[in-house]
Chain length 250, copies 2
């Protein structure tokens, strides 16, 4: 499999040129993949220098690894490197946008510029590893009311006090998908790719989401769901919920 | 929620006594929960000493947090602390047994006694956090043929070269569950809890599973499945597969 580079425009960034010339040691004639905005370009290298690499686009296709669902993950600031762990795993699984937030019971309350920079780098590398077609966006830090105002509907909130419905039932209700196989008499699916659907998942902080916060979220149409009978740490809940939501929708 | 302690027999271990007396500083009359073999006991403390804590069982019930499926996760030795990350998350999600292994493309090939001890401690703490009724077992290290011989059927192997079926379809086929809601004319479910079902999931190492190894596994009845269109790191694949399998079966 060829090396992949996320680019803006049609040219490689200086650090990508250095990687091609001095780390990967690719020669003219080698083909790498440039990825931009959901499109993959096969790029045959013409000249390889430490500061500039030029080449020719020889093929172009949509990136197969982009999910059909545009999933926004509202992520609390977690202790230690737990947030990084979630960003890495859920970018591989297919999250499109991260919305970091603080709420009443948040333990960590600041997102430094250095930390946000690290998050962006982890998201970029995970998107490359996973062969995604886009790098997820990372929003600025918000408080709970601002978060609720910013998230695309439908909003699904796994909450440890919820006894029902399951994440999958709530998704079926919110997005109107049938649970069983299609009826035999259904017309054939249209040839065009299905339209992208939006979804926001809100994961609570270590201390949980307060009842007043849940009430505010419900007032904005959020649905609380259960992830099962066991108590999950925030980072496990995030990875599990994203894996299940994407599997249900893809 | 009361403090939980996994015990063997009806007595607390010395380090649990020390924790109760000197860390939690509980007084006689306080009630803790002892957990043993899928059963929870409410235990009222009678005497609290640094070396011995005694008490009385005042209630007894099945542990609600134990999953219906007995899931064995075959886990390669991963670099750094990635295996620990998987053990922590998937114990919370409900794995019953870990079967560590090495295969042709494994990078890490030894499981030291110290590392296995650390795994056991992480599994125990994660089972307490998640309010499980049992601590998962951790097998000794095996090679690929010995692993295949030791795993309970059915065996499901997420493999990056598989294009179909999905994990969920393979589970439905292997365990004979219908995908849709039950038919209206179905008889009411029996009052007894449903029988436990067994399932083994095999996650490949960083370098992937070799084609010969897949052939050997298929010869033993294993089914290869896809987890989706994106390339997942081994630890993300493990957590996602366990979350999806338990959600599908519970």
């Amino acid at each position: 499999m060829s090396h992949r580079f996320f680019v803006e425009g049609d040219t490689l960034a200086p650090e990508q040129c250095r990687q091609i010339a001095t780390v990967l040691r690719l020669a003219p004639g080698a083909v790498v993949t440039l990825v931009r905005d959901g499109v993959e370009l096969d790029y045959r290298l013409d000249r390889v220098g430490r500061d500039e690499v030029t080449g020719t686009v020889v093929a172009r296709r949509p990136a197969a690894g982009e999910p059909r669902v545009a999933l926004t993950l509202a992520l609390p600031l977690l202790r230690g490197d737990r947030s990084e762990e979630v960003i890495e795993a859920t970018t591989q699984l297919g999250v499109s946008r991260f919305a970091p937030y603080t709420s009443a019971r948040s333990v960590v309350r600041e997102l430094s510029a250095a930390k946000r920079g690290r998050w962006l780098r982890i998201a970029r590398e995970a998107a490359e590893t996973a062969r995604r077609g886009r790098i997820p966006l990372i929003d600025e830090l918000r408080d709970w009311p601002a978060l609720l105002a910013a998230l695309p509907a439908p909003l699904i909130v796994p909450w440890e006090e919820a006894r029902e419905p399951t994440l999958e039932s709530a998704l079926r209700e919110a997005l109107g998908r049938a649970s069983g196989p299609p009826a035999p008499a259904a017309p054939p699916a249209p040839a065009a790719p299905p339209a992208t659907v939006a979804l926001s998942l809100v994961i609570g902080p270590e201390g949980g989401i307060a009842a007043e916060e849940i009430a505010l979220a419900r007032g904005r149409g959020a649905r609380t769901v259960t992830l099962g009978l066991r108590t999950l740490r925030a980072e496990t809940a995030a990875i599990a919920a994203v894996a299940r939501a994407i599997a249900a929708l893809e």
